[in-house]
């Protein structure tokens, strides 16, 4: 028991590792602040383009969304960071992560938003267009506000997924939370920094997950 505690819950080691791990935490937060809005904006674009009925818009969009939903984000990240240099295209770890997440997230957020848009009756667009709003205005002022409200739980739970997936950035040596904790572990030969990182992830996301559950419960009842 004693050994278990020193191996996993060594408080003095945690304190020692805190400067490194806290910097990692900051980088993870920074990553989220960049990647989530970027992905959401991309998703909005995907969803809005999805309302265009022209086949030269529709088909490329289907291919884009299917491709980036099917490819594992870790594989995508490694292709961008370690594959593209062979074609002479080189991205920093941060840029690689941003690009990979943008491609992946815009497809996922896009599909969620599209489901939201589909849930709004066609009469809403008819009414908006009949008063002179153009197609984009009808979407922005009439359809999207209702659509987003309808799929809010899905958007939030996708965002939780995205935050968790930022730990993938450790693979391309981006110094985020998991990478920093792993570094501290390899210096100290002790798992406590990893446990601390796990604790920090849970601390960040648990309130969100709890709120989501309550919200979904309220909707279903």
């Amino acid at each position: 028991m004693e050994q278990f505690l020193t191996q996993f819950f060594n408080v003095s080691l945690m304190l020692e590792a805190w400067p490194i791990v806290s910097r990692g935490l900051l980088m993870t937060l920074l990553l989220c602040v960049v990647v989530v809005p970027l992905g959401f904006a991309g998703g909005l674009m995907v969803a809005l383009l999805g309302t265009v009925e022209h086949r030269w818009v529709r088909w490329p969009l289907v291919v884009y969304v299917d491709f980036f939903r099917a490819i594992p984000p870790l594989v995508l990240l490694i292709v961008i960071h370690s594959g593209l240099p062979f074609a002479g295209i080189r991205f920093s770890p941060f840029a690689s992560v941003c690009l990979a997440f943008f491609l992946n997230n815009s497809a996922y957020y896009g599909e969620i938003l599209r489901a939201g848009i589909d849930s709004i009756g066609k009469g809403q667009v008819d009414a908006a267009r009949s008063t002179g709003l153009n197609a984009l205005q009808a979407q922005i002022y009439v359809v999207l506000p209702q659509a987003i409200r309808n799929v809010l739980p899905d958007l939030v739970s996708n965002t939780v997924e995205v935050v968790k997936l930022t730990s993938l950035a450790s693979v391309v040596a981006f110094h985020e939370l998991l990478y920093s904790a792993e570094m501290a572990r390899s210096i100290t030969y002790n798992a406590s920094p990893i446990v601390m990182a796990a604790g920090l992830y849970i601390l960040m996301l648990w309130p969100v997950v709890r709120m989501l559950s309550r919200f979904e419960h309220r909707i279903s009842s």
């Binding site: 008819d126 908006a128 267009r129 009949s130 002179g132 709003l133 205005q137 409200r149």
Partner: protein, 233 residues
């Protein structure tokens, strides 16, 4: 006008004079709504010409969004924006299309809401209003843009019977104020008292038309007679 292989409207020839209230009746699937929706090109006719207030709606390069502001439309299902208050429903186009300031738009909206007798509901959301009130807000939303013609697509069909009267009252006031109106509806009593002309449509063509007194009392066509007999009771 056709959907795929199915031709919905064929060879409709109809002109509506200024200040005229033209009433369109006919069995479901006869193309009444489609005819109305072609007038502001919510449906695109694949042949033919539609002219509203001197402008060809069906022209290739026409500024539809500008033109649509002069053609008000009221829908069977009201189609109010549920996330906006009654006033915001009316101001949306005023602000985003007309470019009015919030203050001017609010003023115009309140005048329109007053006209349909709902100024005290300006801050209410559609869900807090009865069907009849919602439809009147929808009328105000169209009126606020000062249209030259109003299209009514079965405006009372989704209403409980006791709420129909309020909407018809507003429509009659519009008629008295000189609005040009094209109304698709089954309210025969209203047609009798308010319409200048009644058109009976079936299977995509105009079967018969005339002043309400004549058409209802002495329909010339057998199809018209059959339809009227079915509706009367």
């Amino acid at each position: 006008m056709s959907y795929g292989m199915l031709e919905v409207l064929k060879g409709i020839d109809l002109s509506v004079a200024q200040r005229e209230l033209v009433f369109i009746i006919g069995p479901s699937g006869s193309g009444k709504s489609t005819l109305l929706r072609c007038c502001n090109r919510l449906e695109d006719p694949n042949a033919g010409t539609i002219i509203v207030d001197g402008d060809e709606v069906t022209a290739r390069r026409v500024d539809l969004n500008k033109l649509r502001q002069r053609i008000g439309m009221v829908f069977q299902q009201f189609n109010l924006y549920p996330h906006l208050t009654a006033r915001a429903n009316v101001t949306l186009a005023l602000r985003k299309v007309r470019g009015l300031s919030r203050r001017d738009a609010d003023e115009t909206a309140d005048a329109a809401l007053d006209r349909v007798g709902l100024i005290d509901k300006a801050q209410s959301y559609p869900a807090e209003l009865s069907g009849g009130q919602q439809q009147r807000v929808a009328i105000a939303r169209a009126l606020a843009l000062e249209p030259k013609i109003m299209l009514f697509d079965e405006p009372t069909s989704a209403l409980d019977p006791e709420l129909v009267g309020d909407v018809l009252t507003v429509m009659r006031e519009l008629k008295d104020a000189g609005m040009t109106m094209l109304v698709v509806s089954h309210e025969m009593r209203f047609a009798r008292s308010a319409a200048d002309r009644v058109i009976f449509m079936d299977k995509g063509v105009i079967v018969e038309e005339g002043p309400p007194t004549r058409l209802f009392k002495r329909p010339k066509q057998k199809r018209t007679r059959d339809f009227l007999r079915q509706v009367e009771h």
